[in-house]
Amino acid sequence: MIKNVIAFALLAALGSIFAALFLGYVPDADLNLTARYYADHTAQDVGAANVVTAIIVTYRGFDTLGEVTVLFLTAAIVGLVLAQTRVGNRGGVAPLPPSGEVLQTGTRLLAPLIVLFGAYVFVNGHLSPGGGFQGGAIVASAVLLLLLSNPLRRFSHRLITRLESTVGLVYVAIGVLGVVLAGGFLDNHILPLGDFGSLFSAGAIPVIYSLIGLKVGAEFSSMMVSLSETEDS
C-alpha cells in the first residue's frame, strides 16, 4: 500500500515537471550558437554530408570512443558472468524440437541480406542517416535471427573476440595517427577529404565508422551468443 502511494507521488511529481516543461515550450525560430556552427562549418571542415555523423565521429569523437568502451565492458561482463555456467553443463540437455521449415529457409534467405544492409548502413554513415551503432545493431540482429532459427548453432567465440579486439586497437591507432598527422585525436584529415557527397570522402570517417560498426556488431553478437548458449543448461 505504502509502496503504491510512494510510486504515485513520484509519478505525479515527474508528471508535473514534464507538464511545466511542455507548457513552457516555445520552438526556436533559428538555430542556437553551437548548432549554427555545426550547420555552417561541417561541409568545409569535415566534408561529411550527414552532420550528425560529423559530430559523432569527429567533433565528439572522444565521447564515441567512451561509448564503445562502455558497450565493450557490458559485453565483457555478460561473458564473464555467464562463462561459469557454460562449462560442465553440456550433458543431459533435452534436444529441442526443430524450428519450422519456413523459419529455417527464410533465415537462409534473409540473414545475408540483413548483414549486407548493416554493412551498407555503416559504410554510408557519412552520407545517409545511420552509422556504426545502427549498422552494428543490424548485423547483430542477423546473428540473432540465425540463433532463433537454430538455438543449437554455435558461433566461434574466438573469432568474435579477435575481431572485436583487433577493431578496437585499430580504432585507437587511427585516433593516435590523427594526433601525429593531423590536428588532434581522431581528426579525420589523415585521409584526403575527397569530393563532397561521394562514398570515398570525409577523410577517415568511413573507415572509423566501419570499425565502430564491426565492433558494435561483434559486441552485441557476443552478448546474444553467450546468453543463448547458456540458456538450456
Binding site: 550527414n50 548502413v121 542517416p129 551503432f133 545493431a137 540473432l144 552478448m223 546468453l227 540458456e231
Partner: protein, 85 residues
C-alpha cells in the same frame, strides 16, 4: 508541420501511452509486458522519424525494439519465468 503529420503524431503518442499502460499492467504476464515495451520503442522510433531525427529513429528501431526485446526474453528464460514479482 502539416495537419496530417500533426494528427499522425497525436495518434502515435496516444498509441505509445496505451501500450505503455499495457506494459506496466500487473494483471498481464511478463512476456506480454516485454512485447509491449518493444512496441513502445517501435512506435517512438516512428515518432522520431516524424520529428526529423532519422539517426535516432534507426537506433531506437534496431536496438530498442529489436535487440532489447530478445535480450529480455533470453534473460526471462534464464531466470525461469520469475512470475512472482
Amino acid at each position: 508541420m502539416s495537419d496530417i503529420l500533426f494528427a499522425m503524431t497525436l495518434l502515435l503518442a496516444a498509441a505509445i501511452i496505451g501500450v505503455a499502460i499495457m506494459a506496466v499492467n500487473p494483471a498481464r504476464s511478463l512476456p506480454i509486458a516485454v512485447l509491449a515495451g518493444g512496441t513502445v520503442s517501435l512506435f517512438s522510433s516512428i515518432l522520431y522519424l516524424i520529428l526529423a531525427a532519422p539517426d535516432v529513429a534507426m537506433t531506437e528501431a534496431a536496438i530498442g525494439s529489436g535487440l532489447t526485446t530478445f535480450l529480455f526474453f533470453f534473460v526471462l528464460r534464464r531466470v525461469q519465468g520469475g512470475e512472482d514479482d
